[in-house]
C-alpha cells in the first residue's frame, strides 16, 4: 500500500500540467476540429499540440493557453495539408450539390451539410489554400476564443483582431465560393 505522507514541494508551476490539460483540451480539440472537420483527427492534433507544449512551455507561462491553441491550429493545418496531398494524388473531386447550397443559404441544416464528406473536403481545401495565419485565425475564433485570446495567440494588438478576422472570413468565403464554381 502506497501512502503519501507529506508533500514537500510542488513544481514551479502553480497549475499542474494535468490540470492545464484537462482545462484546455476541449478548446484545443474544438479549434482543430474547425480545420479538420472530424473529431478523431482533431483529437490527434490536440494531443500533438500538448506534446509540443510539454516540451516548450509550462502551464504558468503567461502565454500558455494562447501558445497551446495556436499549436493545435498549426498541428491541424499540418494534418490537413497532408490529407490534401493524399487527396490530390487520388484525384478527389469536390462538388457541392443543390442541397448543400440551400443549407448555406440558410435554407437547410448546417450540421447535416457538414456531415457530407464533399462539403468537408471543400472546407478543407479552402482552408489549405488560405495563408496559415488566416486559417489559424478562423479556427481560433470559431473554436470559441475571444478577441483578447486571439490577440494573445497571434501576438497582435487586440484592436486589430476584428479587422484581421473580417479579412480572413472574406478570404475564406471567396475561396470557398471559388471552389464551388470550379
Amino acid at each position: 500500500m502506497v501512502a503519501v505522507l507529506t508533500t514537500i514541494s510542488t513544481p514551479g508551476s502553480a497549475v499542474s500540467f494535468e490540470t492545464f490539460f484537462l482545462s484546455h483540451y476541449p478548446r484545443a480539440v474544438a479549434i482543430a476540429q474547425r480545420i479538420l472537420g472530424d473529431r478523431a483527427g482533431a483529437e490527434d492534433a490536440a494531443q500533438e499540440a500538448f506534446a509540443r507544449f510539454s516540451r516548450r512551455r509550462t502551464p504558468d507561462a503567461p502565454d500558455a493557453s494562447g501558445w497551446l491553441y495556436l499549436a493545435a491550429a498549426h498541428a491541424a493545418l499540418n494534418e490537413l495539408r497532408s490529407r490534401r496531398r493524399r487527396a490530390q494524388r487520388e484525384r478527389t473531386v469536390v462538388r457541392l450539390d443543390a442541397r448543400g447550397r440551400a443549407a448555406l443559404e440558410g435554407d437547410g441544416d448546417p450540421a447535416e451539410m457538414l456531415a457530407r464528406s464533399d462539403v468537408r473536403a471543400l472546407v478543407g481545401a479552402t482552408l489549405a489554400r488560405l495563408p496559415q495565419r488566416d486559417a489559424s485565425l478562423l479556427a481560433l475564433r470559431h473554436g470559441g476564443l475571444s478577441y483578447r485570446d486571439i490577440a494573445e495567440s497571434l501576438h497582435v494588438p487586440e484592436a486589430h483582431v476584428g479587422t484581421l478576422l473580417a479579412r480572413a472570413q472574406r478570404a475564406f468565403r471567396k475561396e470557398f465560393e471559388h471552389g464551388l464554381s470550379d
Binding site: 505522507l5 514537500i8 514541494s9 448546417p110 472570413q169 475564406f172
Partner: protein, 314 residues
C-alpha cells in the same frame, strides 16, 4: 455564386460546432503515449543515471553534480530530498572532481538477461516482480543486470591548488585531514526490467539493488560536509537543507529541482521512500528502501501509475 448571409455566419456554419470531449480519457491516452525524454529519467532511466542518483554522482561528474549527489559515509536507509534549483551550472561545467583528487570509477558491466527465470541467479538476490502494470505499455520489454562496482575518490590538496591557479576560481583549500583520504562507494548488482526503448528512454523501468554503502579511510562525515558546503555555488539555502538532514549517516540525499519537479514522502508497503514527479505530470519516479534493498520505479507515466507499480511489487 453568392450566399445571402454575412461572412461571419457563413464561416461559422462551414467550420462546424463543438461536440462533447472526454478530456480525462484524452489525458490518460496522452500520458500513456508519452515516451519522450523526461526529467524523471535522471532518476530512473538506465543504470548510469540510476547510479548517478544513488551514489556514483559523487564520483562520476563535475562539481555541480558532486554537490547534488552529496553523500556521506553512510548506509542508505532513508531519503532526504534536496532542492538544487539554486546550483549554478557554470561551476558544474568549469570544475571537475579531478580538480580535487583522483577518481577511480570502473565502468559498470551491463548484460542483458534473456529469460526472467535467470535474473535472480544473475543478480544474486530475489528480484521483485510487478503484479500491476499500466495499460498501453510498449510490447517490448527486457531485463538487464549491471555488475557490482566500487568507486573511489582520493582527495589531493595539490590538485586543488593547481586547479585554483588554472581556473582562476577561489576554491576552499582541502583540509589537512582530508588530503590523501580515500572515500569509497560500494554499489551492489543492479537488476532492471524495462518496457520500451532500453537504451535511455524506457516507458517504465523497475530497478532494484542492494543499498549502497560509502566508506572512508580517514575523512569523517563532518569533514566532508564542511568541505562540500564551502564549495563555490553552494547557496545558503542549499547548505541549510544539507545541514538539516536528520541522520546523515543513513540518509540518502536525493537532488531535485523545485522549479520543475514535485516531491512527496511516500510509504511503499510500510517502507519510507520518496516520489518525484515532473512538471508535465507524465513523468515520475518513486524510490524506497526495504530489507537492505533499494528500489526505483520510474517512467514516462503519471505519478499515480508509477506508485501503483511500486505498490504491486512482490
Amino acid at each position: 455564386m453568392a450566399f445571402p448571409i454575412d461572412d461571419d455566419t457563413f464561416c461559422a456554419q462551414l467550420l462546424g460546432s463543438d461536440e462533447p470531449v472526454d478530456a480525462r480519457a484524452a489525458y490518460e491516452r496522452f500520458a500513456a503515449q508519452r515516451v519522450t525524454r523526461r526529467p524523471w529519467q535522471g532518476y530512473a532511466a538506465g543504470f548510469a543515471l540510476a547510479a548517478a542518483v544513488l551514489v556514483a554522482a559523487l564520483f562520476l561528474t563535475p562539481l555541480g553534480t558532486y554537490a547534488r549527489g552529496f553523500l556521506t559515509i553512510f548506509e542508505a536507509k532513508q531519503f532526504a530530498p534536496i532542492d538544487v534549483s539554486s546550483l549554478p551550472t557554470s561551476h558544474a561545467i568549469a570544475l571537475n572532481l579531478s580538480d580535487f583528487g583522483t577518481l577511480r570509477a570502473p565502468n559498470m558491466h551491463v548484460s542483458a538477461i534473456p529469460e526472467w527465470r535467470d535474473v535472480d541467479a544473475a543478480a544474486g538476490y530475489h528480484v521483485l516482480v510487478p503484479s500491476y502494470l499500466p495499460a498501453h505499455l510498449p510490447p517490448s520489454s527486457g531485463y538487464r543486470i549491471a555488475g557490482a562496482t566500487t568507486n573511489t575518490f582520493t582527495f589531493s590538496a595539490r590538485k586543488a591548488r593547481d586547479a585554483e591557479a588554472r581556473l582562476g576560481h577561489r576554491l576552499p583549500p582541502v583540509p589537512r585531514d582530508l588530503d590523501g583520504s580515500t572515500v569509497s562507494a560500494q554499489m551492489g548488482t543492479i537488476a532492471e526490467r524495462f518496457w520500451g526503448a532500453a537504451k535511455d528512454e524506457p516507458t517504465l523501468a523497475v530497478m532494484q539493488m542492494p543499498a549502497p554503502i560509502v566508506r572512508s579511510n580517514g575523512a569523517t562525515l563532518a569533514q566532508l560536509e564542511r568541505y562540500l558546503l564551502g564549495m563555490p555555488g553552494i547557496s545558503p539555502e542549499l547548505a541549510v537543507q544539507i545541514r538539516a538532514i536528520g541522520n546523515p549517516a543513513s540518509t540518502l540525499p536525493v537532488p531535485f529541482r523545485a522549479d520543475k519537479q514535485s516531491v512527496q514522502h511516500v510509504n511503499v508497503n510500510g517502507a519510507p521512500g520518496i516520489a518525484i514527479g515532473d512538471e508535465t505530470g507524465v513523468g515520475a519516479a518513486v524510490m524506497w528502501q526495504t530489507h537492505g534493498m533499494l528500489h526505483v520505479v520510474g517512467g514516462a507515466l503519471p505519478e499515480s501509475e508509477v506508485l501503483k507499480v511500486a505498490d504491486g511489487l512482490h
